[in-house]
């Protein structure tokens, strides 16, 4: 019992350090580091696409764990005490009480995180990935017009806005329904 508690405290300290480091580094720097630095030791990072995905993933993990941690803390102590009084184990309380409520509370935050993820994927053109931004840039050079940029911007908005606003609205609707804060 005491050992598992110590372990989990150690694990959460490590996570916190990870979060703080990851949130402090621009995602572009992580990409460059993976693709032009680590690729010498780990061949898979020679692929710019994989470097992009991993870099975005590493950073997004840090943000999402932050969002979830905040959401889990929002579950009231009264409810946890009530769950303990029923004789539920820590795992059961986590699974049946904390996670479902934390997920609802986290929805708006997750929405903006996903939007950020999609937008930041545009950095990948630095590594030579043919993504939306890079494509617009090629078209711009060929047509000598800035319309491709406008189009790209519109497409980014068309992808991110519905996701973010849907999760935001779903989140507030559920929060009202369940009276969560």
């Amino acid at each position: 019992m005491a050992i598992t508690k110590q372990l989990s405290r150690k694990a959460s300290t490590i996570l916190e350090v990870y979060d703080n480091i990851m949130r402090g580094i621009p995602v572009l720097v992580i990409m460059l580091f993976l693709h032009f630095g680590l690729a010498a030791f780990i061949p898979i990072f020679r692929d710019p696409f994989i470097s992009t995905i991993i870099a975005l993933g590493l950073r997004s993990c840090a943000f999402q764990s932050q969002i979830f941690r905040g959401a889990m803390n929002s579950v009231s102590r009264d409810q946890m005490l009530a769950a303990v009084s029923l004789g539920m184990t820590k795992m059961q309380i986590f699974r049946h009480i904390i996670i479902p409520q934390a997920f609802i509370v986290a929805l708006p935050g997750l929405g903006s995180e996903i939007a950020l993820l999609i937008k930041d994927s545009s950095y990948s053109f630095v590594l030579g990935v043919l993504d939306l931004a890079k494509y617009a840039d090629i078209l711009r050079a060929a047509q000598k017009s800035f319309y491709p940029y406008l189009l790209a911007a519109a497409i980014y908005v068309a992808i991110t806005l519905p996701i973010a606003s849907y999760l935001d609205r779903l989140g507030s609707a559920l929060k009202t329904k369940y009276g969560l804060r």
Binding site: Q79, A82, G87, H96, Y178
Partner: protein, 245 residues
């Protein structure tokens, strides 16, 4: 037979000693009421007697067994005790029915059908069966407390512990909760209740205990404590309680 008993129970939070040596026993079928000023340790005492947190010193017996000395499974013991809290503590993302069922399924391992039947029965006992599919946010404070009582009751507990179940309710909503508790008392359920509803206490209690800064300074049958208390402290408290409301 004694359901809960404690001997020389003490509790400290850091340097603050909240409970300073309490001896207490409640037998099957008894109803005991604790009164006392706020901050005197009533909630702490109840949480410890419900095995929600351990004492700093002293022994607690559940049906004659020393729970901490013989390292009994706390979750098993908790599943035989019903706890009703002062603050509404229903699980916000579950309906009333699911709130009552969750303990039956997770802890008592009942099958779904059996748990549903048991939960409906408990909701009927608190006259909330028509609200089974509503979420807590859709209910009044009094209704939420009644569902809380149903949740505590559904497991057929050996004892029900109530921590000022009406203290955070409007006056009009108090009676519906008190009514339910009076009903349970009539049915012979063992109850340990912290409350300042004096008329209710007088009616159902076998014994009233007065707690003051971590000690039970006076106890006895309601007539004696309420009309003829020995200590000036109790006299003064009661005078203010009756005069104040």
């Amino acid at each position: 037979m004694s359901v809960l008993e404690c001997v020389d129970l003490k509790k400290s939070y850091g340097r603050l000693q909240v409970l300073k040596g309490i001896n207490f026993e409640i037998k099957r079928g008894e109803k005991k009421v604790i009164i006392g000023p706020s901050g005197s340790g009533k909630s702490t005492f109840l949480r410890i007697m419900g095995f929600l947190e351990p004492p700093t010193e002293g022994r607690i017996f559940f049906k004659g067994e020393d729970v901490y000395a013989s390292r009994l499974n706390l979750n098993l013991i908790r599943s035989k005790i019903g706890f009703v809290f002062q603050e509404p503590s229903l699980f916000r993302h579950l309906t009333c029915l699911e709130n009552v069922k969750i303990g039956l399924k997770c802890v008592l391992k009942m099958r779904d059908k059996e748990a549903t039947e048991k939960a409906i029965e408990a909701l009927k006992a608190v006259k909330m069966e028509e609200w089974a599919d509503y979420y807590p946010a859709q209910l009044s404070g009094g209704q939420q407390q009644r569902v809380g009582i149903a949740r505590a009751l559904a497991r057929d507990p050996e004892i029900l512990l109530f921590d000022e179940p009406t203290a955070s309710l409007d006056v009009e909503l108090t009676w519906e909760v008190i009514d339910v508790m009076r009903d349970l008392a009539r049915r012979g359920v063992t109850m340990l209740i912290v409350t300042h509803e004096i008329a209710f206490a007088k009616e159902v209690a076998d014994e009233i205990l007065f707690m003051n800064s971590g000690r039970i300074i006076e106890s006895g049958p309601p007539e004696q404590i309420l009309t003829n208390p020995r200590t000036p402290r109790v006299k003064e408290f009661l005078k203010r309680l009756v005069g104040g409301t």
